[in-house]
C-alpha cells in the first residue's frame, strides 16, 4: 500500500515537472513541434497583403512574413521538416478558429486595437495605414468635410467605419440619410460607388489603392483626405503564447535589421504584382526602426 502511494506521488511529481518544463511553452509551439505543421490563416481578397493568387494559393506581404516566422519556428524546434498549411478565413471566422486552435497564426490585414487585444495577441506592427476616402474625380470631394448631403459607404464593423462616425459627429457633418451606409465587403462598397448609390467609400487607404488599381477605369477614381484614423496592422496569435510571440517578434526584428523586410515590402508594393504602387511611407520606415530591437 505504501509502495502504491509512493508510486502515485512519484507519478504526480513527474507530471508536475513535465508541466513545469512546458510552462513557458504555450500550446502553439508545442503543437507545432508535435505535428510538424504550422497552420496559417489568410484572407481571399486583402490585396496585396493576404489574398489568393491566380493559382489559388495564398500569397501576399503578410504571408511572406509569416513564412519567415515558420522558418524560424522550424529552426528553434530543430525539426527536420515543417509543413505549412493554409486555412482561408473571414472576419467572422478568424477569432473562433484562432482560439479553438484550428489556426496557429493569422496573416492578413487586421488592425491592432485594444478591444481585440482582450481576445488575441498581436505581433509587432508590420504595416501602417489609416482611413481615407475613395471618390470619383469629378465629385469635387476633397476631404470628409465635403460630404454634406452626400452618401458615405463603409464595410460593416471596420475600424474605418468607427473612425468616420467619430469624425462626422465631432465635425457635425450632415451626410445624406443621416447615417453611414454599411455593406458586407470591399466589392459591394465599390459596386455602390460605381452605380452612383454612394459618393465616397471610407476604408484603409492601402485597400482603396488596391480597389482603384483593380477597377475598370482607374483614372476615374481618386483617394482623398488627410488620414483620420490610425490603423496599425499586425499578425494575430492566440493569447498566452509568450514563446511563440517572442519568436514571431524576433523574426520580424531580424527581417528589418537584415533589410529583408524592406525587400518583401518592395516585392508587394513598389509597384507590386497588382500594380498598387504604394511606396514605403516615412511613418512605416520609422516604425521599422523603432521595433528593430537590439539582440
Amino acid at each position: 500500500m505504501q509502495r502504491l502511494g509512493a508510486a502515485i506521488v512519484a507519478a504526480a511529481l513527474l507530471a508536475a515537472l513535465e508541466g513545469a518544463a512546458f510552462a513557458q511553452d504555450g500550446p502553439v509551439m508545442k503543437r507545432i513541434a508535435e505535428t510538424k505543421t504550422i497552420t496559417i490563416g489568410h484572407r481571399d481578397a486583402s490585396v496585396p497583403l493576404s489574398y489568393l493568387g491566380s493559382d489559388g494559393k495564398a500569397q501576399g506581404y503578410s504571408i511572406d512574413i509569416c513564412l519567415k516566422i515558420a522558418d524560424a519556428a522550424k529552426e528553434e524546434l530543430k525539426l527536420d521538416k515543417l509543413e505549412v498549411k493554409y486555412v482561408p478565413l473571414t472576419p467572422q471566422t478568424r477569432i473562433p478558429l484562432l482560439t479553438a486552435g484550428t489556426v496557429d497564426i493569422i496573416c492578413e490585414s487586421s488592425t491592432h486595437t485594444l478591444g481585440r487585444s482582450r481576445q488575441v495577441s498581436f505581433l509587432h506592427t508590420t504595416f501602417l495605414t489609416g482611413s481615407k476616402l475613395l471618390v470619383r474625380k469629378t465629385s469635387g470631394i476633397k476631404r470628409i468635410e465635403d460630404m454634406t448631403d452626400k452618401v458615405l459607404v463603409a464595410v460593416l464593423g471596420t475600424t474605418n467605419e468607427k473612425a468616420a462616425q467619430v469624425e462626422i459627429d465631432s465635425k457635425k457633418i450632415k451626410i445624406k440619410g443621416g447615417e453611414i451606409v454599411k455593406v458586407k465587403d470591399h466589392s459591394q462598397a465599390m459596386l455602390n460607388l460605381e452605380q452612383g448609390r454612394a459618393d465616397a467609400y471610407v476604408s484603409d487607404d492601402v485597400i482603396l489603392y488596391g480597389l482603384k488599381s483593380a477597377s475598370k477605369n482607374p483614372d476615374e477614381w481618386e483617394i482623398v483626405g488627410p488620414y483620420f484614423s490610425y490603423d496599425p496592422y499586425g499578425m494575430m496569435i492566440p493569447r498566452n503564447n509568450d514563446d511563440f510571440r517572442l519568436l514571431g517578434n524576433a523574426t520580424i526584428t531580424k527581417l528589418i535589421r537584415s533589410g529583408e523586410m524592406q525587400a518583401i515590402y518592395k516585392k508587394w508594393f513598389e509597384p507590386g504584382p497588382t500594380n498598387i504602387n504604394y511606396p514605403l511611407s516615412d511613418r512605416l520606415r520609422e516604425n521599422f526602426q523603432l521595433i528593430a530591437l537590439p539582440d
Binding site: 472576419p91 479553438a100 478591444g115 471596420t158 451606409v181 454599411k182 459596386l191 448609390r197
Partner: protein
C-alpha cells in the same frame, strides 16, 4: 476553446446593448412587413393556380417558378443592384438616391415576394386537398366562383395549411438575416458588428441565437393558438392534436 476569454458583460454595455436592441427590432419589422406582403400576395397566386382560367394558372406557375427557384441571396442582390439599373434612368436615380431607407425597403419587398411563392404553394395544395366535389356542389347551388372560394374552399384550405404555413412564417424571420448582404443592420449583422469591434464572437452570436429562438418560439405558440381557436369540431384536417 482553451484561450478564449469569455466576456458576457459586454452584451449589456453601451453601445453594444443598443445595437442588439435595434437589430432585433429591425429583424422583427422586416419579417412582419415581408409577411404582410407574402400572405395576401401568396394567397392570391395560390388561388390563381387552382382557377379554371388558363391564363391565371399560367401566370401563377411562372411566378412561383421564378421566385422559388432563384436563391434568396441572389434575389437580394438582383433587387438592390440590378433592378434600379434596368428601370428608366429617372426612376433608377430616384431609387438609388432619393428613396428613403433604400436597403430596408428593398429587403422587405424582396423577402415578401420570395415568401409569397412559398405561401402560394401551400395555399394551392390546401385547396387541392379538398375533394373536387365540394367545388362542384357549391357551383351547383348557384354560388359564383368567387363565393365558392370565399365560403367553401378557403375556410377549409387555410385551416389545413396552418402547420406548413407556420414553417414559412418562421422562415421569414430566419431569412431576414440575408438582408445584411445589402446593408440592413438587422440582428445578425449587429452580432457581426459587435464581433468585429470586440472580438467577442461567441457572446454576440449566442445572444442572437437566443433572440431568434425566442421570437420563433413565440410565433409557433401564436400559430398553435390560432390553430386551436379555428378548429372545426369533427374536421379531420386538424387531426394532429
Amino acid at each position: 476553446m482553451g484561450s478564449y476569454n469569455w466576456n458576457w458583460p459586454i452584451l449589456v454595455r453601451e453601445p453594444y446593448l443598443g445595437w442588439i436592441v435595434s437589430g432585433f427590432g429591425k429583424t422583427i419589422l422586416i419579417a412582419v412587413l415581408a409577411w404582410a406582403i407574402a400572405f395576401p400576395l401568396g394567397s392570391a397566386i395560390g388561388i390563381a393556380r387552382t382557377t379554371e382560367t388558363r391564363a391565371l394558372r399560367l401566370a401563377g406557375t411562372v411566378y412561383v417558378d421564378i421566385f422559388r427557384n432563384i436563391p434568396l441571396l441572389v434575389q437580394m442582390f438582383l433587387w438592390y443592384f440590378v433592378v434600379p439599373e434596368l428601370l428608366p434612368a429617372d426612376w433608377g436615380r430616384w431609387i438609388k438616391r432619393d428613396m428613403p431607407y433604400p436597403q430596408f425597403l428593398t429587403a422587405v419587398v424582396c423577402l415578401g415576394l420570395y415568401t409569397a411563392s412559398r405561401v402560394a404553394e401551400q395555399v394551392r395544395s390546401g385547396i387541392e386537398a379538398i375533394p373536387r366535389g365540394q367545388r362542384y356542389a357549391g357551383l351547383a347551388m348557384g354560388l359564383t366562383s368567387l363565393q365558392v372560394y370565399r365560403y367553401v374552399l378557403m375556410p377549409v384550405a387555410y385551416r389545413t395549411i396552418i402547420p406548413p404555413l407556420t414553417s414559412d412564417f418562421l422562415g421569414v424571420f430566419k431569412n431576414s438575416s440575408l438582408a445584411l448582404t445589402i446593408g440592413v443592420l438587422e440582428l445578425t449583422s449587429q452580432a457581426r458588428q459587435i464581433e468585429e469591434y470586440t472580438f467577442a464572437a461567441f457572446e454576440a452570436f449566442t445572444v442572437a441565437t437566443v433572440l431568434y429562438c425566442l421570437v420563433t418560439g413565440l410565433v409557433i405558440l401564436i400559430m398553435r393558438i390560432i390553430e386551436a381557436r379555428t378548429r372545426i369540431a369533427g374536421a379531420i384536417t386538424v387531426g394532429a392534436q
